[in-house]
């Protein structure tokens, strides 16, 4: 299953894929590109990934969710350049009951943020760029000067 896509994510199709006659509850999470981060205006960003590992890691997360709850889960994560308001990630969980749907959906987005090798480079209104790094103070690290470069 290809979870990483370079085209706009079709949320309706994802919801349809986890809907079934026996499932009465669908919880979804959609992450959109925000126009700000850490007090700075964001104008655009770019997601990149270690694609084979990211696909495998997402697959393992979805399997873990389906093992812990009686649910069906779909996920798409976008790669490449995204504009403000674009869907960056979408998760849809179909379940018999709402508690399972909410719990599994929350589990999946938290696990994706922790375990999947995807990176985000933001471009700001002032023309500068940075790598998003949740472990850094301020949440970003500066773009690096290439080895052997002028700096």
């Amino acid at each position: 299953m290809i979870h990483l896509v370079r085209q706009p994510i079709d949320v309706s199709a994802l919801i349809g894929a986890v809907s079934a006659a026996g499932r009465g509850a669908i919880a979804t999470f959609i992450g959109l590109v925000r126009d700000h981060h850490g007090g700075r205006g964001v104008v655009e960003l770019e997601y990149s990934a270690y694609e084979p590992m990211a696909n495998a890691a997402i697959g393992a997360i979805l399997e873990e969710a389906a093992g812990r709850w009686p649910v069906s889960v779909g996920l798409r994560h976008r790669l490449g350049r995204l504009a403000i308001g674009d869907v960056a990630v979408a998760i849809a969980v179909g379940a018999g009951h709402r508690a399972e749907a909410f719990e599994a959906c929350r589990f999946v987005i938290e696990a994706v943020k922790e375990r999947v090798p995807i990176w985000k480079r933001e471009r700001y209104a002032d023309g500068t760029e940075a790598w998003v790094d949740p472990s850094a103070s301020g949440g970003v690290r500066p773009v690096a000067t290439p080895a052997g470069g002028a700096g």
């Binding site: 994560h77 987005i109 999947v116 990176w119 790094d133 080895a147 052997g148 470069g149």
Partner: protein, 81 residues
Amino acid sequence: MPSVQVLLFARYAELLGTPRIELSFEDGATVGHLIADLRALPGGNSLPERPFVAVNLEQAGYERPLQGNDEVAVLPPMAGG
């Protein structure tokens, strides 16, 4: 000597100036030795001391022995979702 492919991503690729390096290693060398070699390259000292590493698509510890043709990926902090 055997060698491995080292993949670098995002900011780490910028620091080293390349997304991919082939590094040779001595028998018995581990992931930890490889990271030390990498940090000795131009730009490599800006890497953290213990970056997250995957070998053949799986998270790997620093004591893991290297094998010829391993694909070693050095991964910056993840920022998906």
